[in-house]
């Protein structure tokens, strides 16, 4: 089922709804993510982008509709849910590296504790991944000793260490100083080129144009428009998207 060349979709959302109290944050979301696809989700804040992203590994529960991952409905809780999460990488806006663990320990914890990989083997793989994201020389430091951009690259390595079937990026560059955004985007573009399935909530138009297969525009909890990056940014079809783009592209 999961061999390369598998054409079944990796993630399927059907009629997904979610409320926060009286706020209807996800409205009848239908969305399919194919294997190897890089999907960018953009839209105004409060539009439900992050909630959508977090619903896919069930960090947020949904009130209605179904979400399937790799052909199976998301488990509700327990060991099955933990196993699903181990197959879906997640990169957060605020990095969330384990503050009391070294950089290398951050990357090896999942493989050792969740997958039962031998420590030596996990450390070797962890070092390879840290080299890949350009942090190899900082492996024995603690997260607070690294810059935001470095921490976010470690967070990507931590996700990769689990050999995930896909990685969710929840505004990965929004908390970074401007000069550090590019180093993180470069790593993400590299992942996209290597065929990783990615869902990326971001406002980085450059990344969307360089790496995305598809852009989904969300507002008020709905998917308002979806298209290829070029078509979306040059010729948005809906007024809502035109209005949004005019606000972020003018400067």
């Amino acid at each position: 089922m999961t061999e390369n060349g598998d054409t079944t979709p990796l993630v399927v959302l059907e009629g997904v709804n979610k409320h926060f109290g009286s706020l209807h944050v996800l409205r009848d979301i239908d969305l399919t993510i194919s294997r190897g696809e890089v999907l960018v989700v953009i839209g105004p804040s409060g539009g439900g982008k992050s909630t959508l992203c977090r619903a896919i590994n069930r960090l947020e529960t949904v009130d209605g509709g179904t979400i399937t991952f790799d052909g199976r409905p998301l488990p509700a809780e327990g060991k099955a849910l933990a196993r699903l999460r181990s197959e879906v990488g997640m990169v957060f806006q605020s990095f969330n590296l384990f503050a009391h663990k070294t950089i290398l320990e951050n990357v090896t914890l999942g493989p050792v504790k969740v997958r039962g990989v031998a420590r030596a083997q996990a450390e070797q793989r962890g070092m390879e991944l840290l080299e890949r994201v350009g942090i190899g020389s900082q492996a024995s430091k603690y997260p607070a000793q690294l810059s935001g951009g470095q921490q976010q690259r470690v967070a990507i390595a931590r996700a990769l260490a689990m050999d995930p079937k896909m990685i969710l990026f929840d505004e990965p560059t929004s908390a970074l100083d401007p000069e550090m955004v590019q180093e993180v985007l470069d790593v993400m573009v590299g992942l996209a080129r290597d065929g990783m399935t990615m869902m990326v909530v971001t406002h980085e138009m450059g990344f969307a144009r360089r790496a995305a297969n598809r852009v989904v525009f969300m507002a008020e909890g709905q998917i308002v428009e979806e298209n290829t990056p070029d078509a979306f940014f040059t010729a948005p079809r809906t007024d809502r998207a035109k209005d949004f783009l005019s606000k972020i592209l003018t400067h």
Partner: protein, 222 residues
């Protein structure tokens, strides 16, 4: 002053018992308190309920009542026995009472520590597939403990002084021994009092310093 010197072996033995009560109860309270804190943050309502009821009941009963219950209720009525020696049995019964009481405070301290750990830490742990128990054990509790080292030190100091309540069921720790010596040396009450007070300071002041130092050294940089 001669009385203090003359009775030094008795005083030394009394403080040695105080130290043993403190260490045994402290260790047991740390383990029980951690379990209670885990229960109070668990996703299972029944465990949360048990933890809440325990803490609110035990924390609000005077320690003297808890100790007397352990001595009479457990020891005499329920016949809980650890040893044929009356004094050893009383010691263990008082350790049960001190541990049960102190655990409630340890639990609340650790729970406060858990609240200092940012939500994102637990979320990131869940996102790589750690179970609730692994998350607590590997990510949340280690950071929570480091945040509450200083308050745990205060609890240990309070426990050291609270061991004197074991006197209520005849455990011959420092305070009961002091009273006994008062009776034997009516002319040396003040020196004996200062001797025992100094003994407690020698125990408790280093605890405060040690835990303050540990708290700084072990702090998690964010």
């Amino acid at each position: 002053m001669e009385a203090l010197i003359e009775e030094f072996p008795v005083i030394r033995d009394a403080f040695w018992l105080t130290i043993r009560l403190t260490l045994a109860s402290g260790l047991a309270a740390l383990i029980l308190g951690t379990l209670l804190a885990a229960m109070r943050v668990s996703p299972l309502p029944i465990l949360r309920g048990i933890g809440t009821v325990y803490v609110n009941a035990i924390r609000n009963i005077p320690l003297t009542l808890v100790i007397v219950f352990c001595g009479l209720g457990l020891g005499v009525v329920l016949n809980v026995s650890f040893s044929d020696s009356l004094s050893t049995n009383s010691m263990w019964l008082s350790i049960i009472g001190l541990s049960a009481y102190t655990a409630a405070f340890v639990c609340e301290s650790i729970r406060a520590g858990i609240n200092t750990v940012p939500m994102g830490q637990a979320e990131a742990a869940r996102a790589i597939g750690l179970t609730f128990a692994q998350n607590l054990r590997l990510i949340v509790l280690p950071q929570a403990f480091r945040a509450v080292i200083a308050p745990l030190g205060s609890i240990l100091i309070a426990l050291t002084k609270n061991t004197t309540i074991a006197a209520a069921i005849g455990v011959g720790e420092a305070s009961l021994t002091m009273k006994t010596l008062f009776e034997a040396h009516g002319d040396a009450v003040v020196p004996i009092f200062f001797g025992f007070a100094l003994g407690f300071l020698v125990l408790t002041l280093p605890i405060g310093l040690l835990f303050g130092w540990l708290a700084k050294r072990m702090a998690v940089a964010r």
